[in-house]
């Protein structure tokens, strides 16, 4: 556990090393949320079918912007396989999965610590559009944590294909497209065509955005919460075993390039 915390702490230290980068990080956070909301505001105002829904859409995309940053990840295992630096971790008595997880948790902690500035920006620019729901923070955070792990393991499985493909950027791009469309990040589930929505409900991508939002906005019944928690845990366990299987097979292909 100490090793896990040390890795997490070092990742946080790296994030805090460059002052100007921190400043631009804050600016990009604010711009991302505010610009996305104004874009949707323009779309909602110019489209009669969204009449009366403007505030819902704006509030939804504020959530999307925040949750995406918390459940997203930037894994490095594929590049480590490509340049051979994976060897450094394979030689240590510490799981490479745990190492990646510690780094991503460090990143999520840093993102969470910057949330106050996003919230301030929202209050400053968008407060008149925010719908006040009967928020359920407990369920929201529960699905946020589950979403983080689902997103982590899907990304991990994709990155592990680098053992065979060497470069996985194209695969990563396809994954990002699926996440954008099927997680509710691009279109709220309530506006999705029924056929796509039915498929999306069965896939793990909904845990990355849709379910945390549904949890926070208290739109789930107790039965739905239970079913979805079981489904998310089942996906996480399955993805963990798939990743472990691919990793074991991949190690046989690994040639530890680069000297």
């Amino acid at each position: 556990m100490m090793a896990f915390i040390s890795i997490m702490r070092s990742h946080i230290s790296i994030s805090l090393t460059y002052k100007m980068n921190i400043l631009f990080g804050y600016i990009s956070d604010i711009l991302y949320v505010v610009l996305k909301c104004y874009l949707w505001l323009a779309i909602a105002n110019s489209n009669p079918s969204f009449a009366g829904e403007t505030n819902y859409i704006i509030t939804y995309f504020i959530f999307v912007s925040i949750i995406m940053q918390l459940t997203g990840n930037r894994l490095t295992i594929a590049s480590n396989i490509l340049d051979g630096s994976l060897s450094n971790w394979l030689l240590k008595p510490f799981s490479i999965f745990k190492y990646e997880l510690a780094q991503q948790l460090g990143r999520a902690v840093m993102t969470a610590s910057r949330l106050w500035i996003i919230i301030l920006a929202i209050v400053a620019f968008m407060s008149s559009y925010i719908v006040i729901w009967d928020y359920n923070y407990l369920v929201g955070i529960l699905f946020l944590v589950l979403g983080f792990f689902v997103s982590f393991y899907i990304a991990l499985v994709i990155q592990l294909f680098a053992f065979w493909l060497m470069r996985v950027e194209a695969l990563q791009f396809i994954y990002t497209m699926f996440v954008d469309i099927l997680s509710g990040g691009m279109i709220p589930y309530k506006y999705m065509p029924a056929a796509i929505k039915n498929i999306a409900e069965l896939l793990p991508f909904k845990f990355i955005i849709q379910m945390p939002i549904a949890g926070f906005t208290n739109t789930l019944s107790s039965g739905e919460i239970l079913n979805n928690v079981i489904m998310a845990v089942a996906y996480i366990v399955a993805l963990h075993f798939i990743a472990a299987f691919i990793f074991k097979k991949g190690l046989k292909k690994y040639t530890a390039m680069g000297g």
């Binding site: 100490m2 090793a3 915390i5 040390s6 890795i7 070092s10 230290s13 790296i14 090393t17 460059y18 051979g84 630096s85 060897s87 450094n88 394979l90 030689l91 240590k92 008595p93 510490f94 190690l251 046989k252 690994y254 040639t255 530890a256 680069g258 000297g259």
Partner: protein
């Protein structure tokens, strides 16, 4: 003890064809070439023994170390390191193993080396006293104690290699694999590393394999030399025997420190000048005429106080050994 039996390892390489027309074809179809990197390797290394692995570029030295460390999983042959099979990557084995790769960077680029050391401490569960003692000892020895809290990206190559070296001994390993341990280091640090290794490895009964293109590393640290050429072991003997082969070679070298305006005397002109740097001549002499040449030098007042005799350099002996086995 390390025991390797009938080990074979092949690399698959995809060759690109040349020519403008091949630009597209290279991405569709490439020639697949199987390169045998290790061929029927049999090797036994006793507990506490220090072996120098010598060979030219691409001979298979690093591949062999990668197999022993478990990074590569060979399909043919077997490797046992103590009670462990490296490819199984047992935690107990990894706790006792250290693989120093002079060309690989383990330090966290944006943070001082001490941060990487602290992660290492947590992973290997090193107690506070040992951690402090090893860092103090090694950093003083390598003259980097003042750099422990400088970001790694601001260190020179040699300074980074020294920090990597500290990292590799921090967890008191029992099996140490050293691949180019003095790469990028100044001569003082090379000397310090060799002195440290010789004392440290013996005092702790560590089994070690060291590879280096710097023969001093091998001669000063190892007690046994294994020559590897094109994936095959071609020579396996003690370092003292290897040095003896150099001493007993058919050639010797006479080094002359020349004065200003020096002209090579007639009795030396038929000899091969192996090297000439500033005012220093290195003459290659067949031992059969050594007595005559030395006799002439002793009678020559211009030279007799400015010469010395050296055995054939170890590098040349090794190249000869490799060529003889081709």
């Amino acid at each position: 003890m390390i025991r390797i039996e009938k080990l074979n390892y092949n690399y698959t390489v995809y060759k690109h064809k040349e020519g403008k027309k091949r630009l597209l074809m290279n991405s569709l179809k490439r020639d697949r070439v199987i390169i045998p990197a290790l061929k029927n390797i049999n090797l036994e290394i006793n507990e506490g023994e220090i072996v120098g692995l010598i060979g030219l570029n691409g001979a298979g030295k690093t591949t062999l170390l990668k197999c022993i460390s478990g990074l590569l999983q060979p399909k043919e042959g077997s490797i046992h390191v103590g009670e462990y099979i490296p490819s199984e990557r047992q935690k107990e084995y990894l706790m006792k193993l250290s693989f120093f790769m002079g060309q690989k960077n383990q330090l966290i680029w944006d943070l001082p080396p001490m941060e990487t050391f602290n992660i290492h401490k947590a992973i290997y569960k090193i107690n506070d006293n040992d951690f402090k003692r090893i860092i103090d000892e090694t950093s003083q020895l390598l003259h980097v104690e003042h750099l422990l809290r400088t970001p790694s990206r601001q260190l020179s190559l040699g300074e980074r290699v020294k920090m990597e070296f500290i990292l590799s001994v921090l967890h008191s390993p029992k099996f140490v694999l050293l691949d180019e341990p003095t790469i990028g280091m100044d001569i003082q640090s090379q000397y310090s590393i060799r002195s440290f290794l010789k004392q440290y490895l013996k005092a702790n009964n560590i089994t070690c394999i060291i590879t280096s293109h710097n023969m001093e590393d091998i001669v000063k640290v190892a007690e046994r030399a294994v020559l590897i050429n094109k994936g095959e072991i071609v020579y396996d003997s003690s370092i003292s025997k290897l040095i003896y082969e150099a001493d007993c070679s058919e050639f010797m070298y006479i080094s002359i420190k020349a004065k200003e305006g020096f002209v090579l005397p007639e009795y030396l002109q038929h000899l091969t000048v192996a090297s000439k740097e500033d005012n220093r001549y290195m003459m290659k002499v067949d031992k059969s005429e050594g007595q005559a040449v030395i006799g002439n030098i002793i009678n020559d007042p211009d030279i007799r106080n400015n010469f010395f005799i050296e055995p054939e350099p170890l590098e040349e002996i090794i190249i000869k050994l490799l060529e003889n086995k081709k």
